[in-house]
Amino acid sequence: MKTRHIAVFSALAAVLVGAIVLGAQDARIEIIKGDRPVIAVADMHGSGAAQQYMDQFNKTLWDELDNTGQLRLAPKTSYPLEVPQQPSDFKPPALFSIWTRPPVGANYLAFGYTAVQDNQILLYGFFFNLGQPSVQSAQVFGNRYYGALSNDGAKKVAREFAADILRQLGIATLSGTKIYFASDRTGGSPIKEIWSMDYDGSNQKQLTRYGSSTSQPAVSADGKLFAFMTYAGGNPQIRIHTADTSRRQTFVNPVSSAVATPEFTPDGKNILFAATVDGWLQLMMAGIDGGGMRRISNVRAIEVSPRVNPKTGSDLLFISGRSGHQQLWRMNLDGTDREMLTTGEGDVANPSWSPDGHHIAFCWTRGYEPGNFNIFVMDIADRKYVQLTSNSGRNENPWWAPDGVHLVFSSMRGRVTQLYTMLADGTNVKQLTTQGNNIQPVWAKGIE
């Protein structure tokens, strides 16, 4: 079942479906499909000692499915009083009708129960397609899941069950992904450190302790290394740490007044960054120990934020001031085929590729005063773009989630900047952070 499709409608179609037509362009980029399946997720019970962990379990299962943004979860208040615990609970002739008719109106049902076995929590998890005529044909799968007899164990089996459901529906899960970011919560501006958290804002951890302005995190494709910029040594320099223990790795910086905006190549072998050469920040590439350095751009303009196409590995987005104010550009890794992707209006910053390489998220002041950034998404094929945020503060640092349909971004609403996620159509906005100021999120797959 194809649950994700991306379509760009013409102006006429956009008007016909009543979509909001944004900006001067008569375009609409649709990344989130409109007719999302409805799934009912019945609260489960546990026998014996397992019951005490079921609140954690039920909440985790619900959130894991809901946070994808690509399912509609039927509200629990609409469910029948008696919920099935195993397939044999469905009796003809009623069968699934109480679930498929209003008010539930579900296409799918997740149900089951837990018990204690060998001092572990055991989940029997079933997933039914309610459009089928019999119990046998309706069962998409029925699996057993084991975890520690604890809240963490309950969370683990819930996530695994949710992951199987999402896999069946062709929906990528965000479970296990990590968001790296810079936060000033420990020292106050300008002191910042690199932190990480789970995709839903839980499990926030401080990774660096330089007591300096440390920001601009980047994460390798395998999730094992993260790079960043820090003033810890005086002038801005890049450092690389391991993701698991945050141990510093060797990286030899070029002799330069500023080295910043690191980015790993998709193969993990090289690192791109900006370094000042002859008074201008220029794009450079080197091995991840800093060896074999070479210059990619050679222009009397500021160039920062190289972002390599994750699909091709051979072209990159970057921000350049060569046409005047900062704009979004693309070129090949060897410096050829440079092209400006934005119109030259306003200031552009923080490009991010969608995982499939088809779309770009970035922030732009187009249509606003300098500094009033909003999040935009562009279809790289035809360069049509849509504006996702408006009238909600200063929005920057969009970064595409590994599922291809979410974005994480920073938003200054009032005096502080916090991190939020949203679907790539601008809906389903959720705040992830609350302490201090938090900026420059990078959404990475977990450590493989």
């Binding site: 300008p190 007044s257 905006t261 000042t276 201008w280 500021i302 920062v304 950034f373």
Partner: protein
């Protein structure tokens, strides 16, 4: 001879002529009546003497502000005497100390029944000489870093620009002279140029922009003959703003180069 004597003589002569003529004539005529007695006029009143200022002088006539001069005068035949400029009524002979703030002409007026007399004297007041130049600061009591932080001027830029404006060139010129003095007196001193930006650009781009701003000032100093190896640059982008208000006045304060002592 007074009138009465003269009249008696005239009368005697007339009498002599009449006796000689009578020899021929036997019968003599009656004598004329005496002339009317002449009334003697009262003597005229004595004429009054006019007032007279004999002396009116200021000693000294030229002085410096804050000093005083003595007015000295002698006046005769006057009943009312005064000096203007606030001195007021005076006696016929006297002195008075005055301390005018500026050059002043004093006029003495003396009047009486015989008339009036005036006389003026000018006291010239010179501005005091300018104070002596401050004593040169002994170099041991002020460090080069203090000199830099006291005298160096911040250099301001336009939005998203890194070239030196006309006002920036004037400030940079003064800074270059300052650095020449500091470098000359302190051979180990180096300077750090910090480039800063306002909050509106992105953090990443502003790092480059602050770097540009620091570099363009360094380039200017090197053109002015300062040694490049004693001038370091650093960009703080928008990390260290002077103010955080969302208005042009604050933005301008943050779009700057600032100099501090290098390590």
């Amino acid at each position: 001879m007074n009138i009465r004597t003269l009249s008696a003589a005239v009368f005697a002569a007339t009498l002599l002529l009449a006796a000689a003529g009578c020899k021929k004539k036997v019968a003599a005529s009656a004598p004329p009546p005496p002339p009317p007695k002449v009334e003697e006029p009262p003597p005229p009143p004595p004429k009054p003497q006019p007032p007279r200022i004999d002396t009116f002088a200021a000693e000294p006539a030229t002085l410096e502000r804050g000093q005083s001069s003595t007015l000295r005068w002698t006046v005769a035949n006057a009943t009312n005497m005064s000096i203007d400029q606030g001195v007021g009524a005076i006696q016929a002979n006297g002195t008075r100390q005055v301390s005018p703030g500026n050059s002043t002409t004093y006029t003495l007026t003396a009047s009486g029944s015989g008339g009036m007399d005036t006389r003026s004297v000018t006291v010239t007041v010179n501005a005091p000489p300018p104070p002596p130049p401050p004593k040169p600061k002994p170099t041991v009591t002020i460090s080069s870093a203090d000199m830099l932080s006291r005298e160096a001027q911040d250099i301001y830029f336009d939005y998203d620009m890194s070239d030196l404006r006309a006002d920036a060139v004037r400030s940079a010129m003064a800074n270059a002279e300052l650095l020449k003095r500091i470098f000359a007196q302190d051979p180990n001193f180096s300077v750090l140029i910090e480039g800063h930006c306002d909050e509106r650009g992105s953090a990443e781009y502003n790092l480059g922009l602050g770097d540009r701003r620091a570099t363009s000032l360094k380039d200017y100093y090197v053109q002015q003959g300062l040694p490049a190896n004693r001038i370091r640059t650093i960009s703080y982008g928008k990390e260290r703003p002077q103010c955080t208000d969302a208005n042009e006045a604050c933005y301008q304060r943050n779009r700057r180069d600032h100099m501090s002592a290098g390590q």
